[in-house]
């Protein structure tokens, strides 16, 4: 993939559909566009069915004898349990409003990536098995038999959807392809057909508390290492607490931010903020090694698996006796918390309705889940002037903001992050309106597709996002892409590197703590990344950006 230049990749994208209809166009599973099969050990850890070694490129997927029966029964069962599934199978009129809203379609030109066709892959079998018209008229009614090729096609395309829900914003009936993909993946999981990039993190999370499989002692080591780094750049030693009973607040964030750059800087940001709040206001926030994962790859497996992983949040909050839970910057984690957690594992009546003890603000919107988003929390602190900030320390940055799919379309957290960014950075530029807020484009790697073997898929799917960043880079000299999602922080750097070199990626709390004046800090000359921060006495921001060595040009 790396050897395919951007212009070569784009040259292959053709929106003209093939001559043959989609039912008559066989699907070829192509390297670079799919993730490896789930390892049997990971599938077995969760006691999920049919763990085995198999390879998507092989003819034989080692399916059980009665695989067809299992799928049809699975469909029947889900049609009875999910109104969404039934309605979305029945009412699509194929108006095509969704067709060119999908980043994977825009990036690959593959018509089976049009949301309408992705759903038809499943609908065609539904009609054949469950509707009279399909049974009588067959292909004329858009019905087709479930065959091995159809099953493989499902697998290929339901793992080419990042469940971002952009198409559902445009659908006149609100048909949500994420929901259809989730049903498709649940069905595939009945036959053990998961991808390893989902199955192994799920198994890790189940056993060790986080996707990365970081054991408790290693988790402490990593945060200690961050404390050393923080001390180097700020001169202040932070002391995070772990599994502390009786703390005020339990903090949960994706382990990805503990694991890899640039998410690590966001993790350091959290640590500095909590230190600041402890020193100034006596707020006691604790981390948990058992509940050391905010993300939930169970969401990409099945609703049962999602519940099995999510249950730890409330269990740990109860065990530690905290007042409420604070959640870090993450995308799908907040979909799970907002739309599933309370229903699955609530009511959390052992927690208090969340109140910010520093400002007195009641988080009315979270009074049942008892879980507050850290950006809401920080926005509230800033609004009440509880953080001493020097935004000029971010003067070397021209920032744009990427709304992550799930906080945007599964929650609606749009203005809080913008407020925080504008308070800690002087230079903020929006991408065009059709690419932000509820119409934001996916990073191209969401819903467990952020592996390395499917890099071509990721770079193609990320094109619309990257293209909008490129627009603001050329127009305003933007050099930093801020986001509130750990998967974004892991996948946007290679995406930017490919399509928009010179633009870096950051979490919001890295920006916040760059600007935060910590009691007892030394004079800052570098930011958390060890990069020189602009000395405001020497050169003004306008002059800075006209310098020939300015990296945003």
């Amino acid at each position: 993939m790396a050897d395919l230049k951007p212009e070569e990749l784009i040259a292959r994208t053709d929106f003209t559909p093939p001559r043959t209809g989609w039912m008559d166009t066989p699907t070829v599973i192509r390297e670079g566009m799919f993730c490896y099969a789930a390892k049997p050990k990971s599938v077995a850890t969760l006691d999920l069915p049919y763990p085995r070694e198999w390879n998507p490129l092989d003819d034989d997927w080692k399916l059980p004898e009665n695989w067809k029966e299992i799928i049809i029964e699975g469909m029947k069962d889900r049609l009875e349990r999910f109104r969404t599934f039934k309605i979305f199978m029945d009412i699509c009129v194929r108006c095509g409003a969704c067709a060119d809203k999908c980043h994977f379609f825009i990036g690959t030109g593959d018509p089976k990536n049009m949301p309408v066709v992705r759903a038809e892959l499943l609908r065609s079998v539904y009609r054949n098995e469950f509707t009279k018209a399909g049974k009588i008229l067959g292909k004329l009614a858009g019905a087709r038999e479930l065959t091995l090729d159809v099953l493989k096609e499902w697998w290929y395309y339901f793992f080419q959807c990042s469940e971002c829900r952009r198409c559902s914003v445009f659908c006149p009936y609100g048909i949500d392809t994420a929901e259809i993909t989730m049903m498709g993946r649940e069905l595939l999981n009945l036959l053990g057909l998961n991808i390893d990039w989902i199955a192994t993190p799920v198994a890790n999370c189940y056993m060790t508390g986080n996707h990365m499989g970081i054991q408790p002692q290693a988790f402490v080591d990593m945060l200690d290492f961050f404390a050393d780094e923080i001390e180097d750049t700020t001169g202040v030693r932070v002391h995070p607490t772990y599994n502390k009973k009786g703390a005020d607040i339990l903090f949960t964030t994706p382990s990805g931010d503990v694991f890899g750059d640039p998410g690590t800087y966001t993790a350091m940001g959290y640590m500095i903020l909590f230190h600041y709040l402890k020193e100034k206001y006596g707020l006691d926030v604790t981390w948990s090694t058992f509940n050391s994962e905010g993300g939930n790859f169970g969401l990409f497996t099945s609703n049962e698996v999602m519940k099995r992983l999510n249950i730890k949040m409330y269990a740990e909050a109860k065990r530690l006796g905290v007042k409420w839970i604070l959640g870090g910057e993450c995308g799908h984690m907040w979909r799970a918390i907002t739309q599933y957690m309370d229903t699955m594992n609530g009511p959390a009546d052992f927690l208090e309705e969340p109140v910010n003890p520093i400002t007195g603000t009641k988080f009315e919107n979270a009074k049942s889940t008892k879980m507050v988003h850290i950006v809401e929390f920080t926005a509230d602190l800033i609004k009440h002037n509880k953080l001493e900030l020097d935004p000029s320390r971010n003067d070397n940055l021209k920032v744009t903001f990427h709304d992550s799919c799930n906080p945007a379309r599964g929650m609606g957290m749009l203005d809080e992050p913008r407020y925080v960014i504008k308070k800690v950075c002087k230079h903020f530029y929006e991408m065009p309106r059709n690419c932000i807020r509820e119409q934001t484009f996916c990073c191209g790697s969401g819903s467990g597709l952020n592996a390395s073997e499917d890099m071509e898929l990721r770079l193609s799917g990320g094109l619309p996002r990257a293209n909008a960043v490129k627009y603001v880079q050329e127009k305003h000299g933007v050099n930093m892409l801020a986001c509130i999602c750990a998967i974004d922080r892991a996948v946007l750097p290679p995406l930017m590197g490919y399509w928009v070199p010179e633009v870096d990626v950051t979490g919001i709390h890295e920006l916040v703590t760059n600007a935060l004046i910590i009691p007892g800090e030394k004079e800052k000359t570098v930011n958390l990344r060890g990069e020189d921060i602009l000395n405001k006495d020497e050169v003004g921001p306008d002059e800075f950006y006209t310098r020939p060595d300015f990296s945003g040009r």
């Binding site: 969404t84 066709v117 018209a133 949500d176 060790t208 309370d342 699955m344 979270a366």
Partner: protein, 333 residues
């Protein structure tokens, strides 16, 4: 010629021939004017109710509305009360805008891949406009036809007729709704045929109702403006149907029976087809639920019991390492 629309077109032509020949050659007026309409109406009502009941039987385990605007959060942040409705009032307005004005479709754009590459999202409101025109003109036509089933004709229908015919062209005056319906249906048809992407995912089941509705509109227009159907006879027949004293008056042309047959087929076909979006749009859980899931717990009636890995088991797995790292434990070694 694409087989999908060819088959649909042939099907509609065949329906025409069946009705025309049935009346002209075989004299089956009572079949096409009385029996089939009754059967069609029963099929429509029963089918519609059964289908909606079937949907309603499946629970809504999770509240998964698509949030299309700012959430209700901190008091100083302005929430989007309609696109991300926290209250029932907001949901009602959201649904009303969706059902009456096709709000989501109004967001539509077209994506263009330009040199560079540079992707642009171009203004595209034609689909929205013609869909709206199609549905509203259809509604007006249906309401206008109620005059055939009511005696005396209520004043409001007479007013509607006046408005619909305000252009006062020709004699009998041109009714705007019929013309708009035909034009909009043609737009939707040619869009499906001419735009390669749309043609690609269109099914025969997408063309058939369009051809059928075009058939209904054309046969209706034919009767009104060209063959000048015996309107008194028609009313005698329709009043006979609604009063359950059906009989066939003499002198109504075959084209009328074709028209009624098309409508009957559409009604009978309705509950088994995508036309059920009429009922489904009200039930779509991504639109008709409140976006307040963090403030109010949504109940899943089948919330499953699941196997979990507890903290105690976790501590058993890592106790020694945890103590070594200075982490508090519940049970000492």
């Amino acid at each position: 010629m694409n087989e999908k629309y060819l088959y649909s077109l042939i099907a509609v032509i065949a329906l025409f021939l069946v009705a025309y020949a049935g009346v002209e050659a075989a004299g089956l007026q009572w079949l096409f004017g009385i029996i089939i309409p009754y059967l069609a109406i029963i099929t429509f009502i029963v089918g519609f109710v059964v289908r909606v009941k079937d949907w309603a039987c499946s629970p809504v385990p999770f509240a998964i509305p698509t949030t299309c605007g700012q959430q209700e959060s901190l008091p100083w942040i302005k929430p989007s009360k309609i696109d991300n409705p926290f209250s029932t009032g907001g949901v009602i307005i959201r649904m009303a805008l969706e059902i009456l004005l096709f709000r989501s479709l109004f967001r539509n754009t077209t994506c263009k891949l330009n040199e560079g590459p540079r992707i642009s999202y171009v203004w595209e409101k034609w689909l929205w406009l013609f869909s709206l025109a199609f549905h509203y003109s259809f509604l007006v036509v249906v309401v206008r036809h109620l005059r055939f089933f009511l005696e005396p004709v209520p004043v409001c229908f007479q007013i509607l007729d006046k408005i619909d015919g305000f252009l006062q062209i020709g004699l009998p005056g041109v009714m705007l709704s019929g013309v708009v319906l035909l034009a909009a249906a043609m737009f939707l048809l040619f869009r499906r045929i001419l735009i390669s992407q749309v043609r690609y995912f269109s099914l025969a089941a997408d063309f058939f109702p369009l051809f059928l509705i075009i058939g209904i509109a054309v046969s209706g227009i034919m009767m009104r403006y060209f063959t000048k159907v015996d309107i008194v006879g028609v009313k005698e027949l329709t009043m006979g149907i609604v009063t359950f004293r059906p009989h066939i008056p003499d002198g109504i042309g075959a084209i009328f029976y074709v028209h009624v047959f098309f409508v009957s087929v559409l009604l009978a076909y309705f509950p088994f087809s995508k036309l059920m979006h009429l009922g489904g749009v009200f039930l779509s859980p991504t639109r008709n639920l409140r976006c307040n899931t963090r403030a109010h717990r949504h109940i899943n009636p089948w919330n499953p019991k699941v196997k979990v890995h507890t903290y105690a088991e976790y501590e058993d797995d890592f106790r020694e390492k945890m103590i070594g790292a200075g982490l508090p434990v519940e049970k000492e070694l």
